[in-house]
Amino acid sequence: MPSMYHQVLIVGGGLAALRAAIEAKDAGLGVAVFTRVHPVRSHSVAAQGGVNGALANAEKGADDTIEKHAFDTVKGSDFLADQPAAITMTADAPKRIIEMEHWGCPFSRTSDGKIAQRPFGGAGYPRTCYAADKTGHALLHTMYEQAVKRNIKVYEEWTVLSLVVENGVCRGVIALDLRDGDIHPIGADAVIFGTGGTGRVYGRSTNSIIVTGSGMAIAYQAGVPLKDLEFIQFHPTSLFGNNVLITEAARGEGGYLRNVNGDRFMEKYAPKAMELGPRDIVARSIQTEINEGRGFPGGYVALDLTHLGAQKILERLPAIRDISINFVGIDPIEKPIPIQPGQHYTMGGIDTDVDGATTLKGFYAAGECACVSVHGANRLGGNSLLETIVFGQRAGAHASQYVKGNGRGRPSEDLLFDKLHEVRGRWERLRAADGPEDPAAIRDEMKATMIEKVGIFRDAQKMTDAVETVKRLQDRYQKVHVNYRGRRFNLDLLRTFELGMKLQLAEVIARGALDRKESRGSHARTDYKDRDDANWLKHTMAHHTPGGPRFDYKPVEITKWQPEARRY
């Protein structure tokens, strides 16, 4: 069977991937989307609170500007963000948001009919555009509608296993069709990854179960460096019990955080911003309350919305209400929601420039899997949806340009099939794996280790432990077994395969964190409590080697604002 070929091959079905696909399709190129789940099932759909853009629609935000948005982003990032990238993103923001509106996104409205904006953590103005508390759902469905309109070919339930590289140029991918278990080589002139973060490396994650980080790992294995992966965001408010996200909008709309004594403890930690401090600070504050015994039994605090009144909750936060009724049986109109911090976002990722281009020619990345870097050490709420639509578009546009200028056409069958045999060999070996180790046990231990030892508060002791544990788990993974050897929809095999990639990423995260001897943004060390701009104002770059990651560092681009102390 001859190989398949598409000019621009998009991997992933979320907002960034679809936005890139739309851009490439509009550029007149042959586009195909390969996605692990149907596009509308992608994790973008679960985003709740909103998307930031300096539209200045809200009354209190009338003098909001792109520059202020960029500054808030940089300050929120604890100055690790590349400032030109942050400026690019915030400058594109209004265009992209208006475009989504023109495409039909059902944004909530102000009384004069404009897109409504609400306050969000770490932002000086209400600039988070929203569609109730289902903004990701509204945006993703709109984006998919546009993909349908453009007749973009979607390969559903295909998962990419490897990149095909020839002389430093990306020439395609090797992908698995989950429905019949066949592995196919697919040639391409440009490959764009929009594969999402790596949340499920951690326990207590708010992410979809499909957020495995496999896209990052595949790029990493192909020699593309991963940047700043140790910066993992912990969302302050995830539902106690199963860590379903409770949006920041709950606080943006005026919700209070209370400890077991009923105190609004945020006045101790961020007296001005209170509950609307940036996520790293609020998450640490909550964890401190819990650690110091002022949490509720079991380890949680309360998110109190009762004073907002039924009407506001029903109008602005209906999904939050549904979630807490469904999962913990509590109606936030009547009682506070039990919450705890949970892993939420991967600030780091595949190293890209503002056009999504990587060190590997013809290979692009956008969205959570990429690290441009606009989020630096801590992402502001509402900037992740923005990142997907801005950098999805930019990656799509730049990849199209690249294909038009440097397109090499169909790669040779030899190249593709050589790679296919290699990947299929790995896959078949795993399919036959019959060792003593249970993959589920390895995964559970990895997740527990990561959340406990490379979690909100970190120190050398815990992280050394974590690195050792991950190494040990990687050894155990070599002796793993799979329970099912069939071909069709073999979840057991796929999940075990993904576990191997997760373990690689866990190692990158833990080692990068151990090496970074300072506290910055989400990376809070109890043994190095302060930010150290003299030594650590730089990006961690992890390169793949057979023995584990090799690290070097890259300077942060500081063009406009000099680092200052972060107070809220």
Binding site: A147, N151, K153, E156, D177, R179
Partner: protein, 131 residues
């Protein structure tokens, strides 16, 4: 095959259905009124026995003729269109659908004429078949 072309298929446009739907509702509603009258007067009103003599008398009254003609025509329309709706629920090709519609119209018109001969013959003063 798990790959789906997200094409815009040439959608089978028409035949509409709005009028059929609306008339089904209208005829249904009028039928309820007519039928109530019909049943009240014919069976539950007064103490009349249903015999040939009384029926012929009533059938000579204009009001009854109007009501009964309405019942006849609308009842047939409503019933046969209902029948058509039932059949259309089962994945009929467009061709079969139009054949069905035509057949039902013919049946309906035939039945209406046949029923009407009975109604109007008495109003005209005699049975068509010389009764």
């Amino acid at each position: 095959m798990s790959v789906r072309d997200q094409g815009q298929p040439a959608w089978l446009v028409g035949p509409g259905g709005a009028m059929a739907w609306l008339l089904q509702r209208l005829s249904g509603f009028i039928l309820i009124i007519l039928l109530a009258t019909h049943l009240l007067l014919l069976h539950y009103g007064g103490d009349q026995q249903l015999v040939f003599a009384s029926v012929t008398i009533r059938l000579k009254t204009l009001l009854f003729i109007i009501i009964d003609t309405g019942l006849l025509a609308l009842g047939l329309y409503h019933g046969l269109n209902g029948l058509r709706n039932v059949v259309l629920d089962y994945d009929l090709s467009r061709r079969a659908g139009s054949v069905l519609t035509t057949v039902l119209w013919i049946v309906g018109i035939f039945m209406t004429i046949y029923g009407a001969t009975a109604l109007y013959s008495f109003w005209a003063g005699r049975g068509v078949f010389g009764g």
